[in-house]
Each structure stands twice: as C-alpha cells, then as structure tokens.
Symmetry: C2
Subunit: 316 residues, 2 copies
Amino acid sequence: MCLYPTEHADLAMPIEERYRGYLDELVGHRHLVPTGVPGVYGRGTEFERVIERFDALVTRHGAALAPEVMRFPPIFNRKHYAKIDHIRNFPDLMGSVHTFTGGDREHREMLGRFERDEDWSRDLSASEVMMTPAICYPLYPSATGTLPPGGRRVDLQGYAFRHEPSVDPARMQIFRMHEFVRLGTPDEALAHRDHWITLGQEIFHSVGLPTQPVVANDPFFGRGGKVQKAIQREQNLKYEFVVPICSEEKPTAIGSSNYHLDHFGAAFGIRTHDGAVAHSACVGFGLERVALALFRTHGLETRAWPREVRDVLGLG
Amino acid sequence: MCLYPTEHADLAMPIEERYRGYLDELVGHRHLVPTGVPGVYGRGTEFERVIERFDALVTRHGAALAPEVMRFPPIFNRKHYAKIDHIRNFPDLMGSVHTFTGGDREHREMLGRFERDEDWSRDLSASEVMMTPAICYPLYPSATGTLPPGGRRVDLQGYAFRHEPSVDPARMQIFRMHEFVRLGTPDEALAHRDHWITLGQEIFHSVGLPTQPVVANDPFFGRGGKVQKAIQREQNLKYEFVVPICSEEKPTAIGSSNYHLDHFGAAFGIRTHDGAVAHSACVGFGLERVALALFRTHGLETRAWPREVRDVLGLG
C-alpha cells in the first residue's frame, strides 16, 4: 500500500523546534514555498530539480523489470475507494472531493453564506471522486480480470494525499511517490518485495543516504487500529527505508516495500493466468522525503554536495 | 487564468458519438485507461511519453525567458480560494476537499452509514484545502508584497481540477497544464500575453497542429455569467489556440494566452517595484489536450507520425 510513515509523530517541543528549524531553512533557501497550510508547499527550482533527478534514477533502475508505464491523476473513483477499507482504517487521512451542483437560486444562497462568513461547504455534494491516498490504488480496479502469464509489472508516479497537517516538513499532506507494482502469484509478489528491499537500499546508499530497512506498520485509525498494526508487523508485510531527517531517534521513512497478500486481488477480482486470486506487492519512493533527506544530509546547496552524489544524480 | 474551454460542449447525438468513438480508440490503444468516472483516466505508456516530450519542448521555448521554476501540488489554501471569485464565477467546476475529524464513536456512526449504503459524506468536514482549478492560482498568494525591478517570470506545471464529467476525451476533470506567468507592469503583462500568442502558434505548428488563435471567454456560471462572458470578450483578455479534435465546427482549445489586468495583483496585494498594483498574464498549454490533438491529427501510433513531428518532439 506504500503508506509510508508509521506513526503520527510525537510533537513534543524539542522535536517540533527541530522541524520548524529545518522548515525555516528550506523556505529561506526557496526549496519550499509556504502556502499558509501546514504540509502544503510549493516546490522551488532546485528542490524540484533534485526530485526530477532522483525520479529519473529510480526509473532507470526500474527499467530493468521492463514495466508498463502508467500515470494516474491524484483523484480516483469513489466506488473504488469504497472497496479498499480505507474508510475503516485511515478515515482521518482521507480527502473526499465535493462540488456544487445547484442552480442560480442555490448559488445565491451559498454565496450569501460565503459572504456572511458562514459554513458554505455543506451546500456542496460529494462528487464521484476521492483524493488518491496511495498512488497504486487506482491501478488495481483497472486490472480486474485475468493477468497475462507471468503477471504484470507497472511503473507508477504521481501525487498522494493524506490529511495530516504537521510542522514536520517531511509530513506533507500532498506529495509524489514513484512506485513499482507487481501483480501475480504469491511467490512473484514476495520476490518483488524482497528484490526491492535490497535494490532500494542500494539506490539510497548510492546517493549517500544511509537508510536502514525496518519492519513497519501503517497508521491504522483509533483503538481498533492497534490490533491491525500488530498483525501487520507480525506478518512482516511492510518494510520501510528509514533515515534521520530531523531526528536520530525518530528516523523518517523515505520509501517502503510492501507485500499486500491478496488484499487488492480479492477486492477487485484480479486473477492469475491459472485462475487463482492474484497477490500484489509494491515498492514506493517518497520523492519529496528523499529530497528532504538529501538536503539534510548533504547541505542546502546542491553545488556543495559530494561529487559522487552529484554524479549519480546527474546534477552536473 | 488559463481556464481554457469556452463553453460547455453541446452534447447533441452526432458529436457525442464522435467523442465516444475517439475515446474507444484511445482506450483500445491503451493511451487512456478508464476508471469508471467520465473525464478521469489513467494515462498509458505512449500517451505519457508524448506528454513528456511536448512538455520538454515547451520548457525549452520558455527557458529563453529565464523563468523561475516552481511546482505547486493539485490542492491549495481554501482561504486563497475565497479571494479569487471562483465560488462566484465557476461554482459548478469547484472541488472542495473534505475529511473526517471525529473520534472512535463518530467513526462507528459514519461506518454504519457507509455499510447501510447511506450518504456518509456529510459526516466529513471541509479541510483547509480546495482542488486547484488553474495551476497559476497558488502562485499569486505566494507573491504578496513588492516585485523585484522588472517583475517576475515563472514556469509552472501541474494538475488542475474541473468538475465537468463528459464523454469528450478532451474534457477531463483532472489534467496537466504547463504555464508561463508574468507579474509586472501592465505593459510587461500585455507584452507577455502577446509574445506567447505568436510563440504558442509557432510551437503548435512545429508539431503539425494547425491551431488558430481566437478571442475567447471563460465559462462563467449561470445567468449572471452571460454579462461577464461578454465583458471578457469585449476586452480581448483571453486568446485560445484552437484545433479540431472531434469536430471541425467545434474546435478544441489546447492552450490559451491571457491577460488578467490587476485581478490577482489586487486580490493578493502584489505591487510592482514602483508601488503600483501588479498586473499579470499567463500562457497555458493543456498537456493532455495537446496529446489528444496529436494522436487525432497524426494517428494513434506514434511510429507512424511524420518524421518532422517526431524529430521536433524527440520521439526517436
């Protein structure tokens, strides 16, 4: 699923100050542009260049799998959302897109509320779409049916949304992931997950990020979520690549490699060539988090980064 | 503002059939991937490659302006949304992002409605963000204050959202624009708009798209909107580059070059170096629409496109 942070960060004062300190530096260097909403930023020239170059590096490594390339937009079908248990497991992170469907009279009423500074959002109706919480979600419903022999490998890149406002620059509400998804037998899915635990480490180390792979869990909601977190960890389904950004004690996940069992295959009727329910796995690279880790590790000016890192990224 | 289509398309049968026909061809060639929502598609390998190459072409032309490069995500601050008159002029196109902010008990109640197939969307609250209706909107609030001498030039690319479900493949609900924005004096803004009317034509013609620039207007909402449409046309503020995609009689806008007067400068307190309210202009290229026009004009297989077009786009 490539939901990458494990737990909501503990915003005790010292670490919150470190978050603010790094955020101020990033804004001062025009890497991030504040928008007045915590976790929603514009990206500056050099920050974006680093993201593009790391994205291209990951694409080159993934090309060895000869994947199909698909790109989904940051919204997806509300009916598909209803099938993936997100409303049960991560309701606090959801983004539901609402719109205005009335006529001239309803419009005047809504404008009246808008002008009186009252809540006009309840004049809206739920649209057909939700914000995409993980960029591989829209892929699975498009794969309903029988996979070709050998299954499928897909290269994805796009924006994911999670409603979790924070001063931690690494906890954005909207950010890009580059993912490689495998659909196939349990063995094929597991092999993909494990291949990328190794390859992911190599990629991160090649740009000077000393990541560690750790068993992790998604941030399941509420009291009931505690059990699910424990089960997920016990089954070793999710590995995160963590590296310190603002804190040595609380390193940040900048990527993850995940085995979904038959979760998506069962939800969307995806079958392997021999008729079994398909299993899936995906690796995800959090592009903004990788850039934040690079700027933290190597400094705020790319021209001062180690020669080897600049060469690997093709920064010139 | 780069709101590009002028009017809601007339969906009389003959043209609707032509829309469906082209959409079926695009899906058959895996250029677009249906998601079950009209106007929301995944993009296939070759479709995306064409977009990337056209995007790079536009970037090279824009680089002559030595612009700052900024990238904003597909959501922006609700408070900024409230300042740009979109709720007055285009309420039917808006996307308001709502989320769940309750605890365990409220969650159980919402899940009950979800399971009984009742409307659970009213258990949500408006979040701090709206979908971005035009990709230059988030730029202006970030430019509040005094511009440097000579103003600013900014290169933007990203997703815009418009709620207008349609079978016309060119009328997507979520699509990418590449824009070049000018902030400065009235003369600087107008010169930018006019420069790009000429350059935009050259770029489109270089890839074999016989665009025409036409005076246009945005799709202002409702009865009151008629006056605004007339005023906008009378002032010659908006030029669209149109080319036939599914219809000779109703050519599609695949880009536009717009002069905003001091609309954004006044709304967000942007001033020129000598203290006057800043004016602005932008040119926008609709990347998916350009790809749709290219596939329609040159055929569904890029390898059969004219040599010259392949060379200009670097398609190999």
